[in-house]
């Protein structure tokens, strides 16, 4: 698996790579083994961007300051573009549902009871 393949998708987010994004990316690589080799890095990066993006925004906790929130938004948007290009429809839908679950839990103040982000995203890769 080559990290080179995903570097072009890190534009503006380079600073996040050393700040948790690369670790999250690697942790998702195993979950994407069943997909086409070309799609694997982008799918793993998409999941990592959602995890980091939500964390940056402070979803379920204290809201981030404006510039950090916007970086989080960009992470989610980049993830959405990566999924649109590389993921089957069922996985795109499952990822969106994962964010819906987490954000509605945050809005109702029950984040502590919601499944963990990584758990939901790993499950989303199994959607068919």
């Amino acid at each position: 698996m080559s990290i080179q393949l995903v570097e072009r998708d890190l534009d503006r987010l380079e600073s996040l790579w050393e700040d948790g994004l690369s670790d999250a990316y690697r942790s998702y690589l195993e979950a994407v083994q069943a997909y086409e080799p070309d799609a694997q890095p982008r799918l793993a990066l998409a999941a990592a961007l959602i995890e980091i993006g939500l964390r940056l925004q402070g979803l379920g906790g204290r809201a981030a300051a404006a510039p950090t929130l916007l970086m989080g938004d960009l992470c989610l948007a980049r993830s959405s573009r990566l999924l649109a290009g590389a993921a089957p429809q069922s996985v795109q839908i499952a990822f969106a549902r994962a964010i819906e679950t987490l954000s509605s839990a945050a809005a109702s103040g029950s984040s502590a009871l919601a499944p963990r982000t990584r758990e939901l995203l790993l499950r989303a890769f199994e959607a068919t």
Partner: protein, 477 residues
């Protein structure tokens, strides 16, 4: 008969708020073909008037009201010692009540051919007499409505109607129904704030563009188009919720923002929920090109928002920076709305590309017109908000470049911006030729957008797309 409420916020003690466009929008949304629009003030210090929107004349009216019922002229109403049950926050406003007596509290405007019947110089005003305040008017529309099931179109009639029904009230009703249906199934903590935002109005430009362009290709499916249009509108609103938090805005469409009303944590969550839901609804449509088109636009919006905030350090910025930000922040979703509708209808690539360029140009022009609204006291929006929030604004950029007023504008913008500074900058912008330059530039962009449509087959929709483009910049009257 349809009943509605029109909500808005005033910013001055006395203010003539031109509500003509909003009334026109209500008539279009209701699908009223011929009949009457009844309008009633729900306040005792807010009047109504039909007159000319000419700034100096509005000043004349204000002076006249002040002369007839001057402030502090010993009104018995202001003698709280003699009144029963006076609230602790009761304002001293005898003059405002007396001025309201000189105006009217209700009026009726006739509707024909799906539009208000007004003379060339007539505008409808809500007249604030004791502002600034949150205000509302009661509306009732009665007469002959387009059937929600009939393909009536209020625009583009007579000239190549073709599929112009795609733009009509029936299809717009489909979008409203789809929005309501989607919000009905969502958890209340996220649905309630979004419902408040959606029901507060908005121009629905993006969903209209989706629906129009979804009628161009060989595969025209109104229900799929309405689903896509509603998802695009939800996505747009999701971005607004985060924007309002970032900009520290307290009100939007006359309602408190989600961040102001329910806190930033809720705003982040609601924005995320509808970002995700909208992308899911689009994915469920099952057209990969459409999904990619919208996702790319969303990315452009987010990247530009970061640039926008970064540029506030160099406020008011320059023309090139402005265009770069606006292309992403506003025009990207206009372009994507046009392209995705066309893609959904399986229009040819040359048609999709031309519509994408059309949407981009109209989106930039729309934002320029929106910038000008910030300097219009009769727009219904607080004047000078962009200045106060240091938001990129083309009239400000041009005023800062102006040889006469530029030095003072730049000096004021470099310091802290209180009411006096914002008021002075507003006056300087109005006194310069900045607004004329912006209007000319926006108009030129719209004409270029219209030109983009000339070489493609649009199956009768050209007049409506032209009308829509021109209406995007015609919002300051």
């Amino acid at each position: 008969m349809i009943g509605r409420r029109l909500r808005f916020e005033t910013t001055q003690a006395t203010e003539f708020v031109d509500i003509t466009d909003r009334l026109r929008e209500e008539v279009h949304r209701a699908g009223l073909k011929i009949g009457r629009l009844h309008l009633q003030s729900l306040h005792t210090t807010l009047g109504l008037a039909v007159n000319e929107n000419e700034p100096l004349l509005l000043r004349d009216f204000q002076v006249l009201l002040e002369r007839i019922a001057p402030e502090g002229a010993g009104y018995e109403h202001d003698d709280f010692a003699r009144r029963m049950d006076v609230a602790s926050n009761e304002p001293v406003n005898g003059h405002a009540h007396c001025r309201q007596l000189l105006l009217t509290g209700f009026t009726t405007v006739l509707v024909e051919d799906g539009d208000l019947v007004l003379g060339q110089w007539q505008s409808v005003f809500a007249v604030e007499l004791d502002g600034p305040r949150h205000r509302q008017l009661a509306l009732q529309l009665d007469g002959e409505f387009a059937s929600p099931l009939s393909p009536f179109s209020g625009e583009g009639q007579g000239e190549g109607r073709g599929r112009s029904a795609e733009a009509g009230p029936a299809s717009q009703t489909l979008v409203e129904l789809e929005l309501a249906r989607q919000l009905l199934v969502d958890p209340e903590p996220v649905a309630t704030p979004m419902r408040r935002l959606v029901e507060a109005g908005g121009k629905r430009m993006r969903p209209r563009l989706v629906q129009l362009t979804a009628g161009i290709g060989p595969r025209s499916e109104p229900l799929r188009a309405a689903a896509l249009a509603a998802a695009v509108e939800l996505l747009h609103n999701a971005t607004l919720i985060h924007d309002d938090y970032v900009d520290e805005s307290t009100h939007r469409r006359g309602q408190p923002t989600v961040a102001a009303a329910e806190g930033p944590e809720r705003a982040v969550a609601v924005g995320d929920y509808y970002f995700a839901k909208a992308t899911r609804l689009i994915a469920e449509i099952g057209n990969r090109d459409v999904t990619s088109t919208i996702a790319e636009a969303l990315e452009a919006i987010c990247a530009s928002q970061i640039d926008d905030v970064a540029l506030r350090g160099a406020f008011p910025g320059d023309h090139d920076s402005y265009l770069r930000v606006v292309r992403g922040k506003t025009a990207a979703l206009f372009a994507a709305a046009c392209a995705s509708g066309a893609l959904l209808s399986e229009a040819g690539p040359e048609v999709v590309d031309a519509l994408r360029r059309y949407g981009d140009l109209v989106g930039v022009a729309f934002q320029m017109a929106d910038d000008m609204v910030d300097f219009s006291p009769s727009s219904g929006k607080p004047v000078g908000l962009d200045i106060r929030q240091r938001v990129l604004s083309l009239p400000l950029i041009y005023a800062a470049e102006d040889r006469t007023v530029g030095p003072e504008v730049r000096r004021l913008l470099a310091g802290s911006l209180g009411d006096a500074e914002v008021g002075r900058v507003t006056d300087l912008v109005i006194s310069s030729n900045a607004l004329d330059r912006v209007r000319d530039e926006a108009t030129a962009l719209v004409e270029t957008a219209v030109h983009e449509l000339e070489a493609i087959e649009l199956d009768g929709l050209r007049p409506i797309l032209i009308s829509l483009a021109r209406s995007a910049v015609d919002r300051t009257a």
